[in-house]
Amino acid sequence: MTGLVLAVALGLGAYGVAVLEHWASTGRFRVAGPAISALALLGRESILPRKPDRLFFETAPVLLLVAAVLSLAVLPLAPGLIAADLATGALAFNAALAYVLVALIMAGWGPDGAYGMIGGWRFLGQLIAYAMLVVMPITAVAMRAESLSTVQIVASQEGLWNIAYQPLGFALFALAGMAMAFAPPFDLPTAAGDLAGGVEAEYTGVRRLVFRLGRMVLILSVASAMTVFYLGGWLGPWLPGWAWSAAKILAVASAMLLGGRMVPRLREAALLEWSWKLGIPLALANIFIVGLIVLVVPT
């Protein structure tokens, strides 16, 4: 039963994110927009490049979708509503999202096109920038919760949400999360302006549909991770647990998609320098501060 509810929640969540993304990119809020473009993509030819690495070209979209869905599977919507409550859930979320990089390298290298290849290797540089800023804040969250299980992490935020408890960690995790979902301004691998679609340039038809579905679920997964780790998941006074989760996730997703378009696209060199020269020292400081607070403030 929970499986069915989770499947429906996943579908609705992904569609909600798709509507937000459609609104952010085309400027018009049309609820039917994503459905129409999905059906249109289904109807278009799916062109196979001439001398591709066929294995890479085929597995990239599927791997992206599988990685996004698995990362969602360890995040709870409500106390009992979780696909797999692993004891190391926070780690599993990060492990699943590491394969987004593998999918994008495959998508970039597979079709043997210049734009895609450059986009793919650029995303590896982007990972080197954001990976540490995802993992270190999660460690600080686990320190407070004394466990890596996502349900425990949400339960530990009973009194005070982590956004208030460790705001620095939240800021770093938010930026790194947007970089992980390559949402603007971090859309280096699929940059419209300088790579004309980059890694997803060569995908048409149904393969492109699966690729974009993977992207939507990825944005949903990053948004729900931010909710679970920092915004107290299902905790909330009046509404039932799942309603709070859904509201927070959609709020975070719309903030990510609409806010991100205010800032010009970042250069990869600048992203790397900012994250290694400023981000990682801040993340280490965040761990240290949280360490002190955890010792001083008895729960």
């Binding site: 890479f56 390298i105 250069r267 600048a270 320098e273 020269k277 400023l278």
Partner: protein, 342 residues
Amino acid sequence: MSAQLFFLAAFGLAAVWFGIVVFRTHSMVRSALALLFSQTAIGAMFLVMQAEFLGILQIMMMATEMSIMAIFMVMFMMDPGGLGEMDMKHQRKLSLGAGAVAFAGAVAVAFLAEWGRLPASIPGAAEQVRLLGLELLGRSMLIFESAGLTILTAMIAATAVAVQPPQVPDRPAGGPGAAGTHGHGGHGGHGAGGHDHSEHGDHAGQDHAGHDHSGHDHGGHDHAKHAHAKHDHEGRGQEKHQAHSGHEDHGGHEGHGEHGHAAHDQAGKDHGGQAADSDDHAGHDHSGHDHGGHDHDHGKDHGKDHGKDHRKDHGHGAERDRPAPAKAPPGQHRKGHEENGT
């Protein structure tokens, strides 16, 4: 129990199969990602054996690290796309022998070693992480700290091998300095944790550092307009002239004058401060060489004695001169004002 065994065998076979694909494929990226999925299969085996923390850790860390190995293999291996179908297997007999010996050793250890009793009950995943944490802070704190030291040495070694310290000291201040692109980087640094598979890379790096990479003599085809290594214009240093550090060999070719290389400033060439070059001419420090203006003659004379040094050092019959890299233009003081970012 049988389902667990089945999945354990399935993932084991998958790991072995991906391991075989690593060596049978011609494309470098395919072999790197095959190794990646082989590690993932091993991570899945950990999960089947209910060692959740190790399994998830294996799956997570190997994905990023094997991708980094993939980019190093693509950078330093001959034909990364595998288009030339080149046979990459070297020393076939030696490696087959070594493989057989290793396999025999592993099987022997598996069967002969004393593994002790199978534990009655496996602690839960959360409990395992807690126990591991206590272990780190308790009995094996020394190992934990020495691991920190080994990682530190790995970082220092990797940086020393792969990265050439910049002439303009990189601004340690918070804001990122200018994205400068000069200095000569060595080849294929060794990834920490010694799992760098690009033995070609080491070889080339080793080869490169010690071996005089007898720069292919470019004398004949140097085009004024086709200067290969244009100067680095990343930073807006105050130099206004455009210095082409062409691959000009001044040693043996006096006849080059009439080729009409009009504005051919040798400053760039003299800056060939490559690792191989600099260790030969320890005293011959180019970096401080401030050319300021567009001084052609000075460069030319300097070029000559530079050329002569070469002949003395290498004692080769043929005139050898290394192609000048696109060195930082002379006296480039990059003001770090053009950092950019969020």
